[in-house]
Structure formats: C-alpha cells, structure tokens
C-alpha cells in the first residue's frame, strides 16, 4: 500500500467517526426531547389563568364597591334632603300658625281671653315640636337600622364572594398539582372547569337565598309606623286639650280634633 492510500483510509475513518459522533449527539437530544413533551391545554395556561383570575377578582370587588358607594351616597343625600324638607315644612307651619294666631288675638276681647290665646299658641307650638321630635327620632332609628341591616348584608355578600374566590383559587391549585403530577390536560381541564362552575353556582345560589331587604326591614318599618302613629295621636290629644282650654276661655264650642284627624286621614 502506498502512503497515499493510507492517508485516504485514515481521513475516511476520521470522517466516519466524526459523523457518528455528530449523529449520536443529535439523536440523543432528540430522544430526550421525546421523553418530556411540551404541556398542552390547561396545564400550559395555568400560569396565565392565575394572573387573569386575580385581576378579574379585583375588578369585580372594585365594581361592587363602586356601586355600593354610589348607592350609599344617593341614600344619604336623599335622607339629608328629606330632613331639610321636613325642617322647612315645620317653619312654614309655624308661620301659618302665627298668622292664624293673629286672627285669634284680634277676636280676644279681654286680657283673660288674650292670655288664653297666648297659652293656646304656646301649647300648639309645643305639640308641634313634640310631634316633629318624635317623628325625627323614629326616622333616625329607622335610618340606623337600615344602615345596620345594609352593613350586615354587605358583610354577608362579601363573605359569599370571598368563599367563591377561595373555591376558584383551590381549583387552580389542584389543577397545578395535577399537571405537575403528569396528569394530562384532557383530564385536568374538565375537573378544573367543573370546580369553577360549581363555585359560581354556589355563590349565585347563596346570593339568591338572601332574604329581600324589605323583609329584613319589615320589623323596623312596623316600629317606625307605631312610633309615628303614637306621635300623631299624642299630637291630636295635645291639640284637643289646648282647644278645650281656649274654647272655655272664649266661650265657644270646642272643636273635635280627633274626628277632624280621622276625617283628614281618610
């Protein structure tokens, strides 16, 4: 064999060896890749699902809080407006009483009758003040009960929402564990979806089971009506007493405030 031949044979063997080495390296990598496949379905999306869920939950809470704040302001504004309206009506009533009292003073012929008219006016003003105070107290109590019931309802609603949120996070965690355990997405996905749906259904069912606000407020409404009815009756009685005293002093027949009140009510 010539030296040239030897050299050719040596280079060929080297080339074959290098080629084999390259093939081996590439083939080994391919085999390894075939043993750990890329996650697909829910297992691939769990990370992004978690961050999206977190954002969605926060948005939901913000939205609920925004509506609650808006409604609370509307309710407070209305209550304040009504309080002002009642105070203005009281002033108007006092002005009308003063005007009519002037007519009574005009017909009072003696000092005794004038004094009787003054007493009548004082008693009527006291009766009006007592009625307004009693009604305002009853309304304040009603508002307080409304606030308390509302806060309880909000706390209960928040609790139900928190429960559902926990259920969602639990479903995410269980799916993550399953994916890590190598359970395929085809199995993990439906389980996760079912858990989320169950949490929503439970929340909706819990919210639907909450008693209506008018039912919750009904006992306090009864209390309010009883208090205002009492105030109205006491007012009528006080007017009757004042009228009787004045009628005697002026020598006229006393009006029947109770029957007038009944006629006015009807």
């Amino acid at each position: 064999m010539t030296s040239l031949n030897r050299e050719v044979i040596r280079l060929s063997v080297t080339f074959v060896a290098v080629s084999f080495l390259v093939w081996f390296t590439v083939a080994t990598t391919g085999l390894l890749r075939a043993e750990t496949p890329e996650p697909k379905g829910i297992c691939a999306k769990l990370s992004s699902m978690t961050s999206n869920t977190e954002l969605s939950m926060q948005n939901r809470l913000n939205k609920i809080e925004g509506k609650r704040t808006e409604l609370d302001k509307k309710r407070m504004d209305r209550q304040a407006s009504k309080m002002i309206e009642r105070a203005e009506k009281k002033l108007v009533g006092e002005a009308k009483l003063a005007a009519k009292a002037e007519a009574l003073y005009a017909v009072a012929a003696t000092d005794v009758q004038t004094a009787a008219v003054a007493t009548f006016v004082t008693q009527v003003e006291a009766a009006v003040d007592a009625r307004v105070t009693a009604v305002n107290t009853a309304i304040a109590l009603w508002h307080n009960e409304g606030d308390r019931v509302r806060n309880e309802r909000i706390a209960l609603s928040d609790s139900l929402i928190a429960t559902q949120t926990s259920a969602v996070w639990s479903a995410h965690a269980e799916s993550e564990v399953s994916c890590k355990e190598g359970i395929v997405s085809k199995i993990v996905g439906p389980v996760h979806k079912s858990a989320i749906a169950a949490s929503k259904d439970q929340l909706n069912a819990d919210l639907a089971a909450l008693p209506p606000m008018d039912v919750l407020m009904a006992p306090y409404r009864v209390n309010l009506k009883a208090a205002t009815d009492d105030a109205h009756k006491n007012f009528t009685d006080a007017l009757q007493t004042a009228t009787d005293t004045l009628a005697i002093a002026l020598g006229v027949e006393a009006s029947d405030a109770a029957s007038m009140a009944t006629a006015t009510d009807s």
Binding site: L71, R78, G93, L104, D201, L207, T228, H232, S255, T264
Partner: protein
Amino acid sequence: MRKLSTSYVAAFAATIITLFIVGACSQQPSRAPTIEPVVTPTSALGDEEDELSSKQVVEQASLKNSTQEDNQTTDTTDPTATATQEDNQTTETTDPTATATQEDDQTTETTDPTATATQEDDQTTETTATATQLNIETIIDGILAELLDDATKSLRDLEEEVEADIALLADDDQALTGVGE
C-alpha cells in the same frame, strides 16, 4: 206855613204807621218753624199710623198757615185789622198746647217702638255675639285642620320616604348581580 207843617206832619205820621203795619205783617211767616218739631219726630218713626198723624198735623199746619196767610193778606190790605190778628194769634197759642198733647200721645206711642228698638238692639247684640263665636270657632277649626292636615301629609311623606329607602337598600343587591359569572 202852619198848614203846610200840619199836613207834612200828618203825612209823615201816616207813612210811619203804614211802614210799621207793613213791617209787622212781614214778620208773620217766622212763626211757621214752631210747627216743624211736631212733624219731624212723627215721620221719623216710620209707622203708618204715625205717618197718618203727621199728615194730619201737616194738614192742620197747612190750614193754619193758609188761614194765617189769609189773615195776613187781610192785614196787609186792611191795617186796621190788628185786633183780628191778635185773636188769631191767641187761637194759635192754643194750638201749640194741642200740639204738645199730641206730642205726648206720640211719645206714648213711641214707647213701643223704643221697646222694639231695644229688642232689636238685643237681637243685634246676640247676632253679633253669635257671629263672633262662629268666627272664633272657624278660626280654631282652621288652625286645627291645617295642623292635622300637615301632620297627616307628613306621615304620608314618611311612608314614601320609607319605600324609597328600602328600594335604595335593595339596590345594593343589584350591585351583586352577575358577580358570580
């Protein structure tokens, strides 16, 4: 000269006497007002009988005046009728007595109207008192009605306020609508 003076004095005296008589006659109508007090109160009563009496009195007075005027006319034409005039005056002085008697009668008659007037005054007083009482009762009724009406309206407003409050409370639940989706 003496004849002229005597005739002059006689003419002067006749003129004076004539003027005196004329002057005396011109004062006769001044007695007419003495009749007026008899007429005025009688007609003022407004009673038919009184009106008749007053008419009678007026007629009497007219007759007397006409008689007197006739007498005066007579007097004017006949200055010597002074005695007749005095007789007439005497007759006239009798008439006021009769008139006085008539006035007494009228006063007696007006006793009843006075009582009636007093009754009317009492009735007027009672009516006024009743009207005042009604006025007072109306004022008091007005005050009571207004106060009770305001109070009743206040209760109705309160009912509406409660309804609105409950609706607003219920709206909190609306904020939860779709929260589970």
